[in-house]
Every structure is written in C-alpha cells, then in structure tokens.
Symmetry: C2
Subunit: 205 residues, 2 copies
C-alpha cells in the first residue's frame, strides 16, 4: 500500500491508523502548491481531485476521501477498530467520522485560505468552538469518542486538535477535550506518526 500525504494535513489521520494497525505502507509526500509528488509525478494523474489523503492499495486501486479510506483500512486490516455491518456500533463510529469530516474539518478549510475575509473566519471560529463543545460533552461521558475503546474518529479528532494550535482557539474551558488531546499525544501510533512527518507536538500532562 502507498499513502500520498502532505505534512500535517488530514492525511495524518490514515497514517495514524496505518501505524496503529502496523500495515506495511510506503509514504510519498505531495507539494500542495505545485501538485507534484516527491518522486516528480503530477499528482493530478493519480488523483484528479488533487487532494490528500490518497491511497494506492496492494491491488493497485486508488482510493480517495478520508472517511472512506479509514473504513477501508479498518475493514481490511483491523476488525477491532470497526465492527461489521451487522453491528449497530459500526454506524455510531461512522457517525463520529462524518461529524468530524463535515462539521469540523470542512469548517476549518476556510481558515487556511487567504481569499476569505477575517469576518468570515471569525464566524467559522465560533462555529468550530460550538462543535468542539459538543465533542467535549461526549468526552465527559466516554474515554474515546465512540466509547471506551480507541477507534477511527479518535485519530481524526486528534488531527483536528493539532490544527487548533495554528489559530487562537480557546480550548481551556473544554477540559475533556484537553484530557483527550493529551492522552492521544501520548499514544504510540500518534507519536510515531507525528515524528514521521517531522511535527513537534507534546502532551502537556
């Protein structure tokens, strides 16, 4: 398998799952400005949408879309992270993935783009604060997002939390989110993944 990634981007999520499950995998970085891969290929020839994460499976199939790559990885390499389609808990885990993808990840997108005015970025920040407050409520009841065990959406939430450090988010009042963030930063698969991408971030606990 191969994962195309950009440093610190949301492709860090499948990397954490790949490390969590010890899946043999090559990693190749993309220059998101030029859309060239590390080995000099045009990334649009691999994924016409031009974004990461993109994986190439061992059968040479290309798969895009973070939420779907995560399901594929769990279904094929780590049944413990995602029960089968006969278990309702599967859909509760997927619910959290989709919530992060659409309500958190997509609301972050504008913050990274210079063409949006500050007043709009302020609206997005306040929206995101509300979404993190909802997450905090969940984490006041459970250790991980979907219960007592680590699963796919936890890796996704962790990466979103690393992004909050680029902006002036006030997470201090969200004590359960802060507890989760520190716990995840101490998780071996997360530590390994951050190190592999040359990212320096440590738990404050």
């Amino acid at each position: 398998m191969k994962l195309y990634f950009a440093k610190g981007a949301c492709s860090l999520v499948p990397r954490i799952i790949i490390n969590e499950l010890n899946i043999p995998c090559e990693f190749e970085s993309i220059d998101m400005k030029t859309k060239m891969t590390e080995s000099g290929k045009n990334f649009h020839d691999i994924n016409p949408k031009g974004y990461v994460p993109t994986i190439v499976t061992d059968d040479n199939q290309v798969l895009t879309e973070n939420a779907v790559i995560l399901q594929y990885l769990a279904d094929h390499y780590g049944a413990t992270l995602l029960p089968g389609t006969n278990d309702f808990h599967r859909y509760q885990i997927l619910e959290w993935i989709n919530f992060i993808a659409t309500e958190i990840h997509k609301n972050f997108s504008l913050l990274f783009k210079p063409q949006y005015p500050q007043e709009v970025k302020d609206i997005q920040m306040s929206l995101l604060q509300q979404k993190f407050a909802y997450v905090d409520k969940q984490l006041s009841k459970t250790t991980y997002l979907s219960g007592d065990n680590f699963s796919l959406p936890d890796a996704y939430l962790l990466v979103m939390l690393t992004w909050t450090t680029h902006f002036k988010f006030d997470l201090n009042s969200l004590t359960h989110v802060v507890r989760f963030f520190n716990m995840m930063l101490d998780r071996p698969s997360v530590k390994k993944s951050l190190q592999e991408e040359g990212l320096h971030m440590h738990s404050s606990s």
Copy 2:
C-alpha cells in the same frame, strides 16, 4: 423506522432511498427555526445536534449524519445498492457519497446563510461550479455516478441539483449533469419523494 426531515433539505436523500427500497417508514417534519417537531416535541431531545436527517430505527436507535444513514439503509434493506466490505466497489460508491457530502453539500451551506457576505458566496459558487464540472466528467463516462447502476450517491447528487435552482448556477454547459438531472427527475422513487414533500420539479426532457 422513522425519518425526521425538513422540506427540501438534505433529508430528501434518505427519503429517496427509503422509497427506492420500499422500506416501511413514518415521516415527521421539523421546523428548522423553532427546532420543534410536527407533533410538538423539542427536536434537540431526539438529536442534540439539531439537524436532519435523523432516523429512529425499528430497534429504537437514533442515527444521524446523512452519509451514514445511507449506508445503514443499504446495508440493512437493499444489498443491491451497496456491496459488502469484501468488494472494493463498496468503497468507490462511498467515495462519491463523501465527495458530495464534503465538497458539494458543505460548500452549499454558506449560500443559505444570511450572515455571510456576497463576496464569499461568490467564491463558494465558483468552487461549486468546479465540483459540478468534475461530476460532469464522470457522468460523461458512466450513466450513474458509480457506474451503470443507480446507487446511494445518485440520490444525494439529485438533491444537490435541486438546490442549484435556488441560485444562479449555470449548468447548461454541463451537458452530462443536465442529462443526469432529467433522468433522475423521471425516476419513480424521486418523483414520489418530491411529491411527498410538496416539491414541484419536473424534468425538461
């Protein structure tokens, strides 16, 4: 089963799948301003996130998030719409759902909200045009989004296309999208669903 919906909103997508598969289902509308249900309940007590679609399964479990509800419906009631986890085509279908959820649906969100300035809505419109152009390219090769057979993302795309009629989108140059839109408007499950929500929209073909 029960589906909580708002007229013309994205809850129309699972309704189409419910009609497509003839799943016995009650429908209850939500007033999105007051967040009260048709029968006078506070919708936040059912889904704390306050948005549709939300389903209550026959086992009395609540499930939210459009992309996940679609998977649940197909996995439980209509295997022909979504192959099992051992078939790579499952992930290609889910890829399209996620693309629509994150790249089309979420980019529409701002257009409906008065608090965003027109210049930002213009950026979103031009982004959406690019996404629909990508969809057009796919539909130049296949009858439906994920191949020759109707599946979940087609219902999702149809609903997004009904939204384009509220804004000044120029779809005319996207001939394959227009062909798809007309074909879907003639589909019995779509006709029935539009009628049930009191929406008047007809194919121009």
